[in-house]
């Protein structure tokens, strides 16, 4: 067995089958196929993360606003109640004399 001649035979130039070039050019002109489902899943995941993240951020802002409003209401009512009690006590003291 002659290796050299075997290689020459295996690597010899062959003409492509008839119509090969036309078929390749026709495939190039075909419209591109839709994105692969894997990319769709990634895009959906990013969108879902953005929506859920946005919703969570909104909830957090709402919670902070509510807590701040609660603190301010309690402070305001504390001040109002304290002033009213001070007046009541004063009136009571005058009444007891």
């Amino acid at each position: 067995m002659d290796i050299e001649s075997d290689l020459k035979r295996a690597l010899r130039r062959e003409r492509p089958p008839a119509g090969f070039a036309d078929r390749v050019l026709a495939r190039l002109d075909e419209p591109r196929s839709a994105p692969r489902p894997r990319w769709r899943a990634v895009a959906a995941g990013i969108l879902l993360t953005a929506v859920v993240g946005g919703w969570a951020a909104r909830q957090e802002i709402h919670r902070r606003e509510g807590e701040k409003a609660r603190e301010e209401v309690l402070l305001a009512l504390h001040i109002a109640g304290a002033k009213m009690r001070a007046a009541q006590e004063h009136v009571r003291e005058i009444g007891s004399h």
């Binding site: 409003a69 209401v73 009512l77 504390h78 109640g81 002033k83």
Partner: protein, 174 residues
């Protein structure tokens, strides 16, 4: 024409609320004060605040009862470093805004303690309090409170405790 009628009706309906709302903002006070408390809560923010009050806590539950009926809470409280740092005529200017519906229920004057005046808006049947104004003045402190809407005075006076009020709510000048 319908729009005009609607606008006029809105104005007429809103007028009582405006009447209960008193201007408590006087230029220059905050700049002079060492400590300032400035609370303005009305509209949707008041409803949100009511939702955040803890119904299991007795103080907060009572506060929620009061707040749920109110349309606005306005408080300005100023503490000064020295006596006579604020214009005493502010008290008169607040008093002058009160219309004929406003009745004085308490006026305490003291040489040693704070002076307190409490006014209520008792329009309608005369029994329901539709608004409250408190003017408390001391040589180094001035507190103005305006509650707009039905107010349960007894419940307000009975509120005890500090409510865990955070220190950050008070603006302090160095």
């Amino acid at each position: 024409m319908r729009k005009l009628i609607l606008a006029l009706a809105t104005l007429v309906l809103a007028a009582p609320v405006w009447a209960q709302r008193i201007n408590l903002d006087f230029p220059g006070l905050e700049e002079k004060a060492r400590e300032t408390v400035d609370v303005t809560i009305d509209g949707d923010l008041l409803k949100i605040a009511a939702k955040f009050l803890d119904g299991r806590n007795p103080d907060e539950s009572a506060a929620r009862d009061i707040v749920s009926k109110l349309e606005g809470i306005y408080v300005r409280s100023y503490t000064f470093s020295k006596e006579g740092e604020y214009d005493r005529s502010i008290v008169t200017r607040v008093r002058e805004q009160l219309g004929p519906n406003w009745k004085k229920i308490v006026r305490v004057t003291s040489r040693t303690r704070e002076n307190v005046e409490i006014y209520v808006d008792a329009r309608g049947d005369g029994k329901t309090v539709r608004g409250l104004v408190i003017i408390a003045s001391e040589p180094r402190e001035l507190t103005l409170v305006n509650l707009v809407g039905p107010v349960d005075i007894d419940k307000l006076a009975s509120l005890e405790g500090q409510f865990g009020i955070p220190r950050m709510s008070v603006k302090e000048r160095q």
